[in-house]
């Protein structure tokens, strides 16, 4: 039995607490009384994963067993989550590989020839062959790549299909091959409560025309939080779309959840509570921190991007999406939810080196923004950890650095759009369409490994709720020019940040620190 989450109140005996700051970390001594919100300990992983998968496929929720849905001559499409989850990428074998192999074995047993695999990368960048191979495994890759295993292309007009419009007028347009299949098997990995469920197909295989109905400022402002689907306008839109699309195509969903063993052995201290660090952990911390700071930037990035998480599956559920997803959410809550009483004036967190959109890439300032004001701020259920008008203090060096291949439109968004305004509504109305339809971005999305031209806009909208809620945002250690461009302020130290925050929240604010990663979802009562 793993221990539940914990809220620690900092007192004189509390050791300094670990804070992530990009490709680095530090120990920080927080003011007395600061509440440190820790996630539950790692849940025990499933002992026999293969058996659990088989059991899920043979005893699905709200559906016939998978073998009963398979028949010779049918058109079968297996769709799987892309490299944006889990984070960091998991150690091989990836759970998706294990599931896909079993699904394919069942299909082969039924004599099905028409099988295709599609990565649900939506408007994310095309994955490289090596990245896909890591997800699906050597055997599947060798058998299907590249003719029958591919990235989704949301800009291929011949391979997109409009299924109709929801009662709210939302276009539901997804990958044609998937839409015209006799069965769509979706293989998911769920790391946060935002993912999975209705989102999988409706987003993962969608087009810009479809995505714009929920990836917009107004919807994001009314998604409180987007990690709490019941109270998320974005998820309500996903649900409406899902409802429509399952009238056209049979979807068999397989969802999995992981425990929170995020970092491998050499960084295992990052998974632990500081006062429980052994001498070995303390030595590992000092060695890792020293080596990290001495390493040249390129080496440091290679090491961090090479981290593979030793996640262990905590659940595999299959069947009808709406039946499966509640079990998935329950597992996520078991692993991430920590009860917190009341909001605070100041919310603190450190941002790590990785987010969904810089796997094997560079965390540019816009991604820092979306990780902080989007993903981390929204790691709550009930109410935000920080009160309305309060201050967010986050840690990240925020270098002005972009991956020119992966993020070409981000560069222009930073240089052109943010130079004019940070107001989300203005940005949406003035620039979104231009970027979304720019032929060069579309070309790079389709033929290179670039995120779609509109993607930086979504990252900016991701912070819409936070920007409306917060009184001030301060980033410790940030490049000052970058912070200013994003509409934030930069501070050198926590003390400076708190001094700056005092204009908004006074000199004795209540403070909460969200200790993450491993991911922590605050259940604020």
């Amino acid at each position: 039995m793993s221990r539940p989450g914990l809220v620690l109140e900092v007192d004189e005996r509390t050791p300094p607490v670990l804070v992530h700051e990009g490709e680095g970390f530090r120990l920080e001594r927080f003011p007395l009384g600061t509440r440190v919100v820790y996630p539950p300990d790692p849940l025990p992983g499933i002992r026999d994963v293969e058996a659990a998968i088989r059991d899920a496929l043979l005893n699905p929720l709200g559906s016939e067993p998978l073998p009963e849905l398979l028949y010779p001559g049918m058109r079968l499409t297996i769709v799987f989550d892309d490299l944006s989850i889990p984070l960091p990428p998991m150690q091989a074998p990836d759970i998706r590989q294990r599931i896909i192999e079993q699904v394919l074995e069942m299909a082969a047993a039924k004599g099905i020839d028409d099988v295709e695999l599609i990565a649900a990368n939506s408007l994310h960048r095309r994955m490289t062959a090596a990245e896909i191979k890591h997800i699906v495994g050597e055997r599947v890759f060798a058998s299907f790549w590249p003719e029958r295993l591919r990235n989704h292309d949301a800009e291929d007009p011949d391979d997109m299909m409009l299924l109709g419009r929801t009662k709210h007028g939302e276009h539901v347009e997804i990958n044609r091959r998937a839409a015209e299949s006799d069965l769509l098997v979706y293989v998911n990995v769920n790391l946060v409560a935002m993912s999975g469920g209705s989102k999988s197909v409706a987003v993962g295989l969608a087009s810009y025309r479809s995505l714009r109905h929920h990836h917009n400022v107004d919807t994001l402002r009314h998604s409180r939080s987007f990690n709490d689907p019941e109270h998320s306008a974005m998820h309500h839109s996903y649900d409406r779309m899902h409802e429509l699309l399952i009238k056209h195509v049979r979807v068999f969903t397989i969802e999995t959840t992981m425990n929170n063993e995020t970092f491998p052995a050499q960084f295992s201290f990052l998974n632990k509570r500081e006062w429980e660090w052994s001498l070995r952990d303390q030595g590992a911390f000092l060695a890792a921190k020293g080596a990290n700071e001495l390493a040249p930037a390129k080496v440091r990035r290679r090491i961090w991007q090479g981290v593979r998480a030793p996640y262990r599956p905590t659940g595999v559920h299959a069947g009808a999406t709406t039946e499966v997803h509640p079990h998935t959410l329950a597992n996520i809550h078991r692993q991430q939810l920590t009860e917190v009483h009341g909001q605070s004036d100041v919310l603190l967190f450190g941002l790590p080196y990785i987010c969904p959109y810089n796997v094997n890439s560079v965390m540019n300032p816009i991604l820092v923004f979306s990780l902080g004001l989007g993903y981390y701020f929204n790691m709550y259920r009930g109410a935000p950890l920080v009160r309305e008008g309060g201050v967010l203090i986050m840690y990240h060096p925020m270098p002005v650095e972009f991956h020119p291949v992966h993020h070409p439109s981000y560069i222009d968004f930073y240089e052109e759009v943010l130079a004019q305004t940070t107001d989300q509504a203005t940005i949406e109305s003035k620039f979104e369409e231009q970027y979304a339809t720019d032929p060069w971005y579309i070309h790079l999305y389709r033929s290179s490994h670039a995120y779609h031209g509109v993607h930086p806009f979504y990252m900016w909208y991701w912070g819409a709720h936070a920007m409306e809620h917060l009184g001030d945002v301060i980033c410790v250690g940030a490049n000052r020019r970058a912070a200013a461009r994003l509409g934030m302020r930069a501070a050198s130290t926590l003390a400076d940040a708190l001094e700056m925050a005092s204009d908004t929240v006074g000199h004795s604010p209540s403070i909460s620190y969200l200790h993450s990663p491993p991911l922590t979802l605050a259940d604020v009562r």
């Binding site: 020119p404 560069i411 222009d412 240089e415 052109e416 231009q434 032929p439 060069w440």
Partner: protein, 405 residues
């Protein structure tokens, strides 16, 4: 005797200034330039149509700085005579009465000079170019009554603006309206060049234009483009924020920093961006027309930003090597635009004389603050240092005020 700054032949100083101007010791370049403050005889009038002019303000031009910092092309060597007094952006006071086009310009009245020393000034039968008013193309620039010199300010016999007195042919004179401050009038010559460039470009309606460089030439080119052509978007590549602000005031659609010129222009005009393994990025697509207004690396930049079949207008005096591959590969046209033209126009331009247009524009355009620093001749090192750092220091045009000594 008059006080004058004299450019003299000194290969050693020329080379030293050239070496240092690109390095960390650039601020000492003016001291090394082959320039000296001298007392010299008044220049003699070269004929009955010549008058004496007392410079009131005389601008420091990019081409002057190129010469003083060893960056001017040796091509121009035969077209000057030494020693000469630089200074060709001149507003001055007539010291003699003179009749021009049936109008008497009285001594004491103010004039600006078209500096080109063409057939008429040289007492020659007009060449084919001067015959048609295109005096800037004169073939007789090295012969006649005065020594070789493409302009006043490069001729040993006429004197130049960086002195207390020069001589000019009446055909070079353009009267300055009484209500026009000297700080505006001194911009007439570079503005006339900009007008000429705009005409030379033959800008079609709604054509996208990029102006590379936002010093005096670049900014005045924006002004001319907006006033005299049906250009669509005008994107300006400016190094310094104050230049960008001025470009917007003059009608620029967008201003880009040099480091993001290609990306920013691609956003404005479409096309795709490409990054060679070595060298700078370029566009396939881009602007219809580019104006090179830096006199430096701007041509290389312009060639990378213009669409296939597009046009590059050389407004700045070229210097340094350039990779002309894009000119070949994209079938670009390069159009020279030197100085300004006289009364006759090229058939396509349909405009009046460039100086007249420039003076009209100078009267109303938002040019306040363009000349924000004037120096006496005696402080020539400080003046040249300031002019060399004009962009960084927030200035556009630095000028000499020879009336202050």
């Amino acid at each position: 005797m008059i006080l004058a700054l004299e450019y003299h032949r000194s290969p050693a100083r020329y080379l030293a200034a050239g070496r240092l101007s690109a390095g960390p010791l650039a601020q000492v370049t003016p001291s090394l330039a082959p320039l000296r403050l001298v007392n010299r005889s008044e220049p003699r009038r070269a004929g009955p149509d010549w008058v004496r002019v007392r410079p009131v303000l005389s601008g420091i031009c990019g081409s002057d700085l190129a010469l003083l910092t060893g960056r001017a092309s040796p091509y121009l060597g035969p077209l000057v005579s030494m020693p000469f007094v630089p200074g060709h952006e001149i507003v001055g006071q007539l010291m003699d009465d003179v009749e021009k086009d049936g109008v008497v310009l009285a001594a004491g009245s103010r004039v600006v000079l078209d500096p080109v020393l063409s057939c008429r000034a040289r007492g020659l039968v007009p060449c084919v170019w001067c015959e048609t008013g295109r005096t800037n193309r004169c073939d007789h620039i090295t012969v006649g009554r005065v020594s070789a010199g493409l302009q006043t300010g490069f001729c040993a016999d006429t004197g130049g603006g960086w002195s207390q007195l020069l001589v000019a042919h009446r055909g070079q004179l353009h009267p300055v309206p009484d209500d026009m401050p000297a700080e505006r009038a001194v911009l007439a010559e570079p503005l006339a060049c900009a007008v000429h460039s705009a005409h030379r470009a033959g800008v079609p309606r709604d054509a996208s234009v990029v102006v590379v460089g936002a010093g005096t030439v670049g900014l005045l080119t924006v002004l001319a483009l907006r006033a005299l052509t049906p250009a669509g978007s005008v994107t300006v590549i400016a190094k310094h924020p104050h230049q960008g602000r001025k470009a917007y005031e003059l009608g620029a659609t967008d201003v880009l920093e040099p480091r993001r010129a290609a990306r920013g222009l691609r956003r404005a005009t479409g096309g795709s961006l490409h990054q060679p393994e070595r060298g700078r990025e370029f566009l396939l697509g881009g602007a219809d027309i580019a104006f090179e207004c830096t006199g430096g690396q701007g041509l290389d930049t312009a060639a990378r930003l213009v669409r296939a079949g597009g046009r590059i207008v050389l407004s700045g005096m070229p210097s340094g090597p350039v990779d002309l591959t894009p000119v070949w590969y994209r079938e670009l046209e390069i159009v020279g635009a030197y100085a300004s033209a006289g009364d006759a126009r090229e058939p396509a331009s349909g405009a009046d004389d460039d100086f007249g247009a420039a003076l009209q524009l100078a009267a109303d355009a938002p040019l306040d603050g363009f000349v924000d620093a004037t120096y006496p001749l005696a402080e020539w090192r400080e003046a040249l240092g300031h002019a060399l750092a004009a962009g960084r220091s927030g200035s556009v045009k630095v000028a000499f005020d020879p009336t202050k000594g």
